[in-house]
C-alpha cells in the first residue's frame, strides 16, 4: 500500500520525482545490464509513443501506453503496479509541462529524461528512488529478506 502511494501521480511532485522513482524500479529489475538502452527501453518506447503518435490528444491513451510498457522481467505484482503508476504519472506530467516547448526541445528533453533515468539507475540513486527500490526489492519475501 505504502509503495503504491509513493508511485502515484500527485500534482506536488515534479518530473524529477517520477524519473527518480522509475530509476529505482529499473535498478532492481535490470541490475547489471550493459547499456542505457537495456535499462530504459520501455520508458523510451512509452515516451516516444506519446511524443510522436498521440501528443495532441493523449489523455485517453496515457494509461494504455503505460500498461503496455511494463517490463516483462519485473515479476512482483506490486512492483509492476508501481512501475505502471510511475510511468503514467511521468507521461502525464511530461505532457502537461512540455506542451509549451517547441517540438525540437520536447524531443531533446525526452532524450534527457531517458538518459537521466539510466544514469540514476546505474550509478547514483536519489533518496526518492532509493525508497521505492527498497520497498520493491529488499523486502521481497521470495528472496528471503526480512520485513522492517
Amino acid at each position: 500500500m505504502e509503495l503504491l502511494e509513493l508511485c502515484k501521480y500527485d500534482p506536488g511532485r515534479g518530473l524529477d520525482y517520477y524519473a527518480a522513482g522509475l530509476a529505482g524500479v529499473l535498478r532492481g529489475a535490470r541490475r547489471g545490464a550493459a547499456s542505457t538502452h537495456a535499462y530504459t527501453k520501455e520508458v523510451r518506447k512509452a515516451l516516444e509513443t506519446l511524443v510522436f503518435n498521440v501528443w495532441n490528444d493523449p489523455w485517453e491513451f496515457i494509461d494504455a501506453i503505460a500498461e503496455a510498457n511494463i517490463p516483462r522481467d519485473l515479476q512482483k505484482t506490486e512492483c509492476r503496479k508501481c512501475f505502471a503508476e510511475l510511468l503514467k504519472a511521468l507521461l502525464r506530467k511530461f505532457r502537461e509541462k512540455a506542451d509549451s516547448l517547441p517540438a525540437g526541445a520536447r524531443i531533446r528533453l525526452m532524450n534527457m529524461i531517458v538518459s537521466a533515468i539510466a544514469e540514476m539507475a546505474r550509478y547514483s540513486l536519489p533518496p526518492a528512488g532509493d525508497k521505492i527500490f527498497e520497498l520493491c526489492f529488499l523486502n521481497n519475501k521470495n528472496l528471503g529478506g526480512e520485513k522492517p
Partner: protein, 617 residues
C-alpha cells in the same frame, strides 16, 4: 571575532546548497547574504552604540548570530508544519558546531522562532538592542536609502539613540578608480572614528555610500596626495619598475639630444628597454605645456617621482562629487580634447595608445566605455582632438591589477556595510581559487566537495575559507555602487571550454549564495536582478530573477546544474557536437530534471539535504 570565523559560522548554519535559497521577493538576494548582512550590520551597531557600561548588550559573536538567525525559521519553516521539529534539531546541531557551546546553541535557537527583528522585544536584552536589530533588518528592505531617515527618527523617539545619515557619492564614470576611492573613504572614516570616538558605519548602497554616524558635523575630505596617490596598498598605482621607466622617458623628453637619439628608425638599446615612444613624448595635453605624457602620468599617479605640476581635473567632475570634498586638485572647465572612454571634455589628456604602456593586453572591450556606438572612428569623426583623460588613465591602472581579462562582478541591490563587501570579495576569491586549483571543470568529482554532504563538511569549509590571508588576492569592492569585482580567467583556446569554465564557476558562486552575478570583460553599466548576466549571451536557464515568486525556488537546482556542466561535459566527451550545452536552453522550472541528467549525484546530495531538514522528496 575575525571575519573568517564569522564566515565559517555562517556557512556552518546555512551550508551550500541551502545558502542559495532566495530570501526576498522584491530583490534578488540569497538567504545567506541577507542573513549575513543583517548579522554583520547588527554586530556593528551593537558594538558602536550599546558599548560597555551603557546598555547590557550581546557579545559580538552572539550579536552576529542573533542577526544571522532572524529569518531562517520563517524561510525554512515554509516547508510545512510537520518539518519544524526536524529544522529545530538540525539548527541546534549546527549551532553546536558553529559555537562549540551546547548551552549557547540551546539559548540561541529560540530567536529562529521569535524573530526579534520584527517583534522588537525579548527578555534577554533591553529594548534598545532589539530596535538596533530591527534597524539592521529594515535597512535591507529600502528601495531608496533616504527612507532610512524615518527609521532613524523612530529609533531616536523610542530609545533615544541619535543616529544621523550622511550620503557620500563619487559618481565618476571610472568604476575601478571608484574602488580605490571607496577603500580610501573607509580608511578615512576609520581614522576619524578613532580620533573623535564617534560612531561611523559606512554602508554601501547602489546609489552611493551612506554613513550612519552620531557626529552631526561629519565632513568627508579626501586628499589626492594622501588618499589616491598611494594606491590600494601604499605602493602606488603604478608598479615601481614601470614608474622608473616613465621617469627615464620623461627626462628623455626634456632633453633634445636624447629625443633625437631615441626617435630614429633604429633605436638604441636603452630607448627600447624603457619603452620610449616619440608619440607619447609629443601628443600629450596639459594646460600651458605641450607633449610629455610620461610626465603627466607621473604628476597624477607617481609616488616615487613627482614632477612639479598641479593635478587638474575636468570641471564636470565637481558635479559628480556629493557630500565629499577632494583637496589637492584644481578644476578647469571645458577643454579642447574629448576622452573616448568617459566622454568628458578634458584639459589634460594622453594619447589612447599610451595606455598600452601599463596594460599590454588591453582590448577595447575591457574599457568601460560610456560612449556608444562601438566604433570610435564613427564617434570621433567630428572631434578633432581626442585623448584619454587622467581619471580614465587611473582606471586602467587600477583595472590592470586584476590581471584577468574576464571579470566576475556581484552588484548588491540592498545596503550592506563596507566590511561585508570586503568579506564577500574574500569568499568569492577563495571559491574561484580553490575551484581552479582543484580543476573543477576537468575533475568532476571536485564539485561535490563544495556542497554540504555529511560530517566532513566542516573540515572542507575550513579548507575553502582558509586563514583569511589575502596575499595575491584579486578582488576590489566599490562602496559607491555596492559592487564587488574579481578576476575570473584569461582567454581559452576553445570557445566551448570558456562556456564550461564560466558556467561552473558562476554555478559554484551562486550555490554559495552569491548573485546577481555578471561575467564580462568590462563591468555592466547598470545593476540588474538576474541570476547571471553573461557576455556570451542569454540562455533561459540563468536569465531570470531569483526573486521571482514562481521560479525563485528552483535557484539551488539551477546553480547546481550550472556547477555540474563540467561533469556532464566529461561524460559526453565523445559527442561530435557539444550538445550538452542544451541544458541551458530550458527555463529554471526544468532544473531538477536537468540536474538528474547532468549529475545524479549532485541531485541526490541536494535532495537528501532537503529531506533531512523537512520538506524534500
Amino acid at each position: 571575532m575575525n571575519p573568517t570565523q564569522r564566515i565559517k559560522m555562517a556557512y556552518t548554519l546555512l551550508p551550500p546548497p541551502l545558502s542559495s535559497t532566495p530570501a526576498k521577493y522584491w530583490t534578488s538576494i540569497s538567504l545567506w547574504l541577507h542573513s549575513y548582512i543583517v548579522g554583520s550590520t547588527f554586530q556593528e551597531l551593537v558594538d558602536a552604540l550599546a558599548g560597555p557600561g551603557d546598555i547590557e548588550a550581546p557579545e559580538p559573536d552572539e550579536a552576529f548570530l542573533i542577526g544571522f538567525l532572524h529569518d531562517l525559521g520563517q524561510k525554512m519553516g515554509l516547508m510545512g508544519e510537520r518539518s519544524s521539529e526536524k529544522i529545530r534539531s538540525w539548527l541546534i546541531e549546527r549551532l553546536e558546531v558553529a559555537t562549540g557551546d551546547p548551552r549557547m546553541a540551546r539559548s540561541l535557537v529560540k530567536y529562529v522562532y521569535t524573530n526579534p527583528a520584527e517583534t522588537r522585544t525579548d527578555i534577554t536584552y533591553p529594548v534598545e538592542v532589539w530596535w538596533l536589530l530591527w534597524l539592521a533588518d529594515r535597512l535591507q528592505g529600502l528601495e531608496n536609502i533616504y527612507d532610512v531617515i524615518p527609521l532613524l527618527s523612530s529609533i531616536r523617539r523610542e530609545v533615544k539613540i541619535d543616529l544621523k545619515l550622511l550620503m557620500v557619492n563619487i559618481a565618476i564614470p571610472q568604476p575601478f578608480l571608484r574602488t580605490l576611492i571607496s577603500a580610501s573613504l573607509y580608511k578615512y572614516l576609520h581614522r576619524q572614528a578613532v580620533e573623535s570616538e564617534e560612531t561611523m558605519i559606512p554602508l554601501a548602497t547602489p546609489y552611493g555610500a551612506a554613513i550612519l554616524t552620531t557626529n552631526p558635523d561629519l565632513r568627508v575630505i579626501l586628499d589626492w596626495d594622501q588618499d589616491i596617490r598611494p594606491g590600494f596598498d601604499g605602493n602606488g598605482l603604478i608598479p615601481e619598475a614601470v614608474e622608473e621607466n616613465l621617469y627615464w622617458n620623461s627626462e628623455c623628453c626634456k632633453d633634445p639630444e636624447c629625443r633625437e637619439r631615441c626617435s630614429g628608425r633604429s633605436k638604441p638599446e636603452d630607448c627600447k628597454r624603457h619603452g620610449y615612444k616619440k608619440r607619447d613624448c609629443e601628443k600629450g595635453v596639459y594646460p600651458g605645456e605641450k607633449g610629455n605624457s610620461y610626465k603627466i602620468a607621473l604628476i597624477y599617479y607617481g609616488l616615487r617621482h613627482r614632477p612639479p605640476g598641479d593635478v587638474v581635473l575636468p570641471g564636470k567632475i565637481r558635479s559628480m562629487l556629493q557630500g565629499v570634498e577632494l583637496v589637492g586638485v584644481s578644476y578647469v572647465d571645458g577643454g579642447r580634447v574629448q576622452c573616448p572612454i568617459c566622454g568628458l571634455k578634458t584639459p589634460v589628456a594622453v594619447p589612447v595608445d599610451f595606455l598600452q604602456t601599463f596594460y599590454r593586453d588591453l582590448t577595447t572591450e575591457q574599457w568601460n566605455r560610456r560612449i556608444y556606438p562601438g566604433s570610435v572612428n564613427v564617434l570621433m569623426q567630428d572631434v578633432r582632438h581626442y585623448g584619454v583623460d587622467p581619471l580614465c588613465l587611473g582606471d586602467v591602472l587600477a583595472r590592470s591589477r586584476l590581471e584577468n581579462r574576464i571579470l566576475v562582478s556581484l552588484a548588491l541591490r540592498a545596503p550592506a556595510p563596507f566590511t561585508v563587501l570586503e568579506d564577500i570579495g574574500y569568499i568569492m576569491w577563495r571559491i574561484i581559487t580553490i575551484a581552479s586549483k582543484r580543476r573543477v571543470t576537468r575533475n568532476p568529482a571536485a564539485i561535490y566537495e563544495f556542497m554540504y554532504n555529511g560530517d566532513d563538511w566542516d573540515s572542507r569549509l575550513n579548507e575553502v575559507i582558509g586563514s583569511g590571508s589575502t596575499t595575491g588576492a584579486k578582488y576590489f569592492y566599490d562602496g559607491f555602487t555596492a559592487t564587488v569585482y574579481l578576476g575570473l580567467r584569461g582567454p581559452y583556446r576553445k570557445h566551448i571550454d570558456e562556456w564550461i569554465h564560466d558556467m561552473v564557476m558562476s554555478g559554484l558562486l551562486a550555490l554559495w549564495g552569491f548573485y546577481p552575478l555578471a561575467v564580462s570583460e568590462s563591468p555592466p553599466d547598470s545593476p540588474h536582478d538576474k541570476l547571471l548576466v553573461y557576455y556570451k549571451g542569454r540562455r533561459p536557464l540563468y536569465d531570470y530573477r531569483p526573486a521571482d515568486k514562481g521560479k525563485g525556488a528552483y535557484t539551488p537546482y539551477v546553480a547546481a546544474v550550472m556547477a555540474s556542466m563540467g561533469v556532464l561535459a566529461a561524460r559526453r566527451a565523445n559527442e561530435q557536437l557539444p550538445a550538452f550545452l542544451e541544458v541551458l536552453d530550458y527555463p529554471p522550472e526544468y532544473s531538477p530534471l536537468l540536474l538528474e541528467y547532468s549529475s545524479p549525484r549532485v541531485y541526490s546530495i541536494l535532495e537528501s539535504l532537503r529531506g533531512r531538514i523537512g520538506g524534500g522528496a
